[in-house]
Amino acid sequence: MQDLLIMTCVRFPSLPRQTSAEKFRDLSAWINRLSRTGIRTLHLKSIQSQSQSWFPFRDPIYQLIHTFTAFRPRASSRKIDMAAFVTVSKRPILGLPFLLPSCEPATLELRRAQSTYRRTKQRLRIKPDASFGSSSDNSQAHIIHNPPSSAPSTYHTPMKFLPPNDVRRTLRNDASSKSQSPEALPSVFKSAPERKYHLTREDVEEIRKLRSSDPILWSRWKLAKHFNCSPIFIAQACEASPQKKEIQRQVLAAVQSRWGKTRRMAREDRQLRKESWGRDE
């Protein structure tokens, strides 16, 4: 009983002291009635989350009373355990009509958010495979093939890689091997690489001459921009001088010397991950 008073004062600090004493008398009366009916102790349920619309009483204490939930305390102590939220009553709560307000008893149930349950149910509703449903001709026996979603086996040779005299070429022709049309799919890259083939032999000679004349000025990117081609083509056309390579190596070492432990490890891990792609691990 003392706990209930404390809880009342804590939860409604704005109430005047006199009012709270009256309400507490009402509360004790309620609790006496409840204890006669077999419910030993009561537990406050938070009323902040409750919707106010259906509630007949504006008085917060009545709201408090109407949102009581039956609760069994520990056997040893008569104190109300705030941590436990197990709702157990000796009788079903619907058999106690005086406890119920004039509203639906949904709020007296377990603490479960209705919307979350529905959403969960909705999320779990996965569309079955097409072969599970009613097919067009149920008269004949048919195979239900519902494979789990997994990566295709590498031992399954693609159609294009089969030699021309292989039997599987004709066997797979009628099967629906072309389920996806690549035209409808988005590309990995934003723009397709454009091949221009506009550089002549003289241009390549010019590239080599420029790069050997001043490798600092004419870097790969600068040459690529000047000749309107890709830096990879510059690398294919000519090679940097050993001096330039040494300078570049020193620049890289200077940059790397400023890396801390975390960044260095992250870079090394990234490199290791990239190498594991080729091993398909």
Binding site: T154, K160, F161, S181, P182, L185, P186, W277
Partner: protein
């Protein structure tokens, strides 16, 4: 194809006492060791001394078992371990226990070529390499050479043979000797802490082996190196069969590792089965013990630049240029995105891969496409050795590929 009279050959694998063949063979192949007399006393006669020819009435040798480097042939019949090993391996009954005992004697234990398993191991190694390579090449005709070498090592390499001899339950003798149970594998052990491969191999079959900076192509490994692509020591001409017996006080041969000794033993068993029971039994033994080991060849690839390799492959085979397309994706803006990327050539999908980034998914899809190319396997695989069976169907040429992609 005419069948060879292997039974006649196999008698030479047995020492003279264990042989049950004809009298002529017994006369021809009688081992010098068993005929050696007791005129040998270790104290006053050196080993290099020329022996008097054994008299016709020479008695059984007076050597004690402790003086012999390996167990005598008559001990094979009394060894329970040997009989158990013979039964456990389900060896053909035509393979006598004496030959199995000889298979267990390594050349480091007994240098005499008549009593160790060296000759059997040479034969068995050739058979194993032949069967394994023809199986690999006919089953996966497009495999790159490096993968073929690795797969050969996985099928008949020394590490596999060591594991197999352990699975067969072959125990190793602490030290070789005549008094040892012939059911134990006998070899001269390395000293503790010794490194067997410390110094580089010299005297290999490869020319210009002193040029360490020269590039060693994988193609030259086919020509010069052994079946695993490793340089091997050039074979020396077989040593003359010395007349004097080898005794324990002689300076012994080099010690070997347990791995090398076990590998030699497993190869010798294969050669012994071939000699005594013939080719079908040898092939059956290979299929049951070697080919039945599971090997996932798709795990043996390592591509450095898979997308570039696939582009080169498609250019070589006159396919359309491979294009990477996003099949599905989830959580692009999240911490754990998943992309499913397919590689298409024209309208055909070559491969599919998933990854946490678009570049990873593309690389994995390229790897899947390349593996789809390299792991092509014909439907009916027939190896050339299948033609050795009686009543074999006429040979149809197997699929031969252009070779791997060279960038």
């Amino acid at each position: 194809m005419k069948r060879l009279q292997l039974q006649r050959w196999s008698s030479s694998a047995l020492s003279s006492r264990a042989r049950t063949g004809g009298r002529l063979q017994r006369h021809l192949y009688s081992g010098t060791r068993l005929q050696s007399t007791n005129s040998y006393s270790l104290q006053d006669q050196s080993l290099g001394q020329q022996l008097a020819p054994p008299s016709a009435t020479s008695d059984v040798p007076k050597f004690t078992k402790r003086q012999l480097p390996s167990p005598p042939a008559e001990a094979a019949r009394e060894s329970a371990k040997l009989a158990a090993l013979h039964a456990r391996l389900y060896l053909p009954s035509r393979l006598p226990l004496e030959t199995l005992a000889r298979c267990l004697v390594d050349a480091s234990a007994d240098p005499s070529a008549q009593f160790n398993n060296q000759s059997l191991a040479v034969l068995g190694n050739d058979l194993l390499s032949n069967y394994a390579s023809e199986h690999l090449i006919c089953t996966y005709p497009r495999l790159p050479l490096t993968v073929i070498f690795a797969a050969m090592y996985a099928y008949v390499g020394p590490k596999t043979l060591l594991a197999m001899s352990r699975e067969w339950g072959v125990e190793h003798a602490a030290a070789p000797g005549g008094e040892v149970d012939p059911g134990l594998l006998q070899y001269k052990r390395l000293d503790p802490g010794a490194k067997p491969d410390a110094e580089p191999l010299v005297g290999t079959t490869r020319p210009n082996e002193d040029q360490t900076t020269w590039r060693r192509s994988i193609t030259s490994s086919v020509v010069y190196d052994n079946e695993f692509g490793d340089p091997e020591r050039a074979a020396s001409p077989p040593a003359e069969l010395s007349d004097e017996p080898f005794l324990m006080n002689d300076k012994g041969p080099a010690p070997v590792t347990p791995e090398a000794a076990s590998a030699t033993f497993a190869r010798a068993v294969m050669g012994a089965i071939y000699l005594h029971a013939g080719r079908p039994a040898a092939k059956r033994f290979f299929e049951q013990h070697f080919l039945s080991r599971q090997l996932d060849i798709s795990k043996m690839f390592n591509f450095q630049q898979p997308a570039r390799d696939l582009t080169r492959l498609c250019a070589r085979e006159n396919y359309d240029e491979p294009v990477a397309k996003i099949i599905s994706e989830t959580g692009r803006r999240s911490r754990t995105p998943v992309f499913v990327v397919g590689i298409f050539s024209g309208v055909d999908k070559l491969g599919e891969g998933t990854g946490a980034s678009l570049s990873e998914a593309r690389a994995r899809a390229s790897v899947a496409a390349l593996k789809g190319w390299y792991l092509y396997s014909p439907l009916e695989v027939r190896v050339p050795s299948a033609m050795e069976e009686d009543g074999a169907a006429p040979w149809k040429p197997v699929y031969v590929d252009l070779g791997e992609v060279i960038v």
